[in-house]
Symmetry: C2
Subunit: 382 residues, 2 copies
């Protein structure tokens, strides 16, 4: 059976391949984007897990928009205005997929920063969007490029990860957030704000969501994979009702609704009195690992590598001298360290600047140190 045209353009995921190779016990993987299994708040989930057997209603078909108590909790904790609503998705990845399916016709222009989140490139590729890119500075997207793009290409939406961007770790400055919102309003471009790492800030104070400056021009994607557990596959989307109704219509066909026991488990966890303590623990742990990775990189990497400090998230982005980064990643892998080379994060791979994405949340401190040693050895030889 011949596959659909939309799928013929989708690249096989390099990350999946490298992650498979990285499962070799001799390889230290900085390639994935996995939270540390030990951070999963299973103790805090236990009371709800044990109580699920007394909640037969969660085993029945549920509402497409989501489990009432979870929707209520999120509506309250995100302080959504009356005109806005929340819906639950099978991971925030599904939220993004629903947005693409509900709004993007083949050829519609969708703007992203370059580099950008691989899963978003896949999703917009599947709907055959015309992906336009703007470059990223250390404070966020290049605003001149963004306005030119908005003015000349009339995009339907601008997708971004303003808090601890994947892969670069950049956190947009407040001024940039305001200006992006203004541009979205001015040019009538929907802002799709993906915020999976927002709660993983370990330095400085939380900045307002970009969407808070353009609430009626935006949709926010919320992930619980980094603060609760990715295995549950529960995420959320918020925005004005008229924006979310088409998503619910697509979701009905896509999977009817997300797992209700998992939604009940999540709301039990979010309401647990010790949830904030858990969040503090994660942030402290990830901060300490970040500091190990960053200081080791500073010490050991050749001087022509450029490191960017981050205030949160899961990744450090290392710019390296121009080279074949795929070849380099292969060499690194055979030297026992897995990383992701920059071109996979660019909609147009040939526009990529040579860089590597390094994850610091899943490896232990001694592994991070050893990984940098292996990385530095190869880079020094190159």
């Amino acid at each position: 059976m011949e596959i659909a045209q939309s799928l013929q353009q989708i690249q096989s995921s390099y990350i999946r391949e490298i992650l498979a190779a990285a499962s070799d016990p001799n390889v230290i993987s900085l390639a994935g984007g996995l939270p540390d299994e030990k951070t999963f708040p299973i103790d805090l989930m236990k009371p709800t897990l044990e109580n699920l057997a007394n909640m037969p209603e969660v085993f029945q078909y549920g509402s497409t928009a989501g489990y009432g108590p979870l929707l209520d909790h999120l509506t309250q904790s995100y302080q959504l205005p009356e005109t806005h609503t929340a819906m639950i998705c099978t991971g925030s990845q599904q939220g993004l997929d629903l947005i693409a399916r509900a709004y993007v016709d083949p050829g519609d222009v969708v703007v992203m920063e370059a580099p950008s989140y691989l899963g978003a490139m896949q999703v917009f590729g599947l709907v055959q969007a015309n992906i336009a890119t703007v470059s990223q500075t250390e404070f966020g997207p290049n605003l001149d490029e963004l306005e030119t793009c908005f003015a000349q290409q009339s995009p339907k939406m601008f997708y971004a990860v303003p808090d601890f961007h994947n892969p670069t770790g950049v956190c947009w400055a407040t001024e940039i957030r305001q200006k992006v919102a203004e541009l979205c309003i001015k040019y009538n471009v929907a802002f799709i704000e993906d915020a999976p790492y927002r709660e993983l800030r370990f330095t400085g104070t939380e900045l307002p969501l970009v969407s808070s400056f353009c609430p009626d021009n935006s949709i926010v994607l919320r992930s619980f994979s980094k603060i609760a557990s990715p295995g549950l596959r529960i995420g959320a989307v918020t925005g004005k009702r008229s924006y979310l109704e088409p998503l619910i219509k697509v979701k009905q066909g896509a999977d009817l609704h997300s797992s209700v026991p998992m939604q009940a488990l999540l709301v039990g966890l979010l309401k647990h009195e010790d949830f904030n303590v858990h969040m503090e623990n994660i942030r402290t742990l990830y901060k300490s690992r970040y500091e190990v990775l960053f200081s080791e990189l500073e010490k050991q990497l050749p001087a022509d590598c450029v490191l960017k400090a981050v205030d949160g998230g899961m990744f450090i982005w290392v710019e390296i001298p121009e080279c074949d980064t795929f070849e380099l990643a292969k060499t690194l892998l055979s030297n026992g360290v897995a990383v992701v080379p920059s071109p996979v994060f660019y909609p147009k791979a040939d526009e990529a600047k040579a860089a590597l994405r390094l994850n610091f949340t899943n490896a232990k401190p001694e592994e991070l140190t050893e990984a940098v040693k292996r990385l530095a050895e190869v880079l020094n030889q190159a």
Copy 2:
């Protein structure tokens, strides 16, 4: 933001509206397709539910194809040949959505029986398939129409529910199954076999899957919503590897993977020594309810209504004299009984013969009796 063209053609779901109305406590609903909450094998799930807290690995990101132990169990219990494989979906509804997205280009011909499952019409509508229909006899699809359709329209796939069809309850005869498989092979049409009700047979013996006669031309969708619990949102797809690989690629973008704790819960349940007893209990319960509904309908309905006996599943299809069935359903609703009128099950609603779909799995026997009384009153007046 303007919605995508593919979504503009999707009708708002009449069933969702009628189900909302049917939640009125004064209404007896025969409209849904819900299993009885009391059949959920929560006791058999309890040991796994309580053990999940000791399985941190199920809370991490999982494999897109599914949780290893569940895949192993299904591969074994479905006795899949070496060249075939299984993948897990967020409900079998997602399996269908993935098939449509992976294989159907706008305008591609997809064949269905008329009437047919509403959720399939939605999914194929979203990918802008050209839906061709063949009529259904009491033994399965009309083979002459099917061959003409295959020969003249070169469809990509034929989607069907051969076991206790939704909405008609028809179970295809073995000879029809063989001939459909032959036609699919002859005309190179993929057979998409949706089998959510297969295990709900309460009379007679199991017939071979249509796919067993054309294993390399088919994909099978398996649901656990009717035998375990719909709330979990776990289904499965089986077929030859080359058929399933594109589905896995789409699923990566769609939701990365399905909930791992729910997959672990399901495999624990399926392996429970009392699972077969549970299945027997469901079948016995549904048989008794079916017999109540059927005998009451026989007794009370006007003579010009045509009833079809079924050997399993969840529905009885009642053909009624030609009338405005939507108007009738509204009148029935205001008289305290919710049913689904036939046109919603036809890709071309104006081709529908007047009929009503009645569910017998969710209402108690006394409710079924009372519902038929209300139904008969209205039909006798009409």
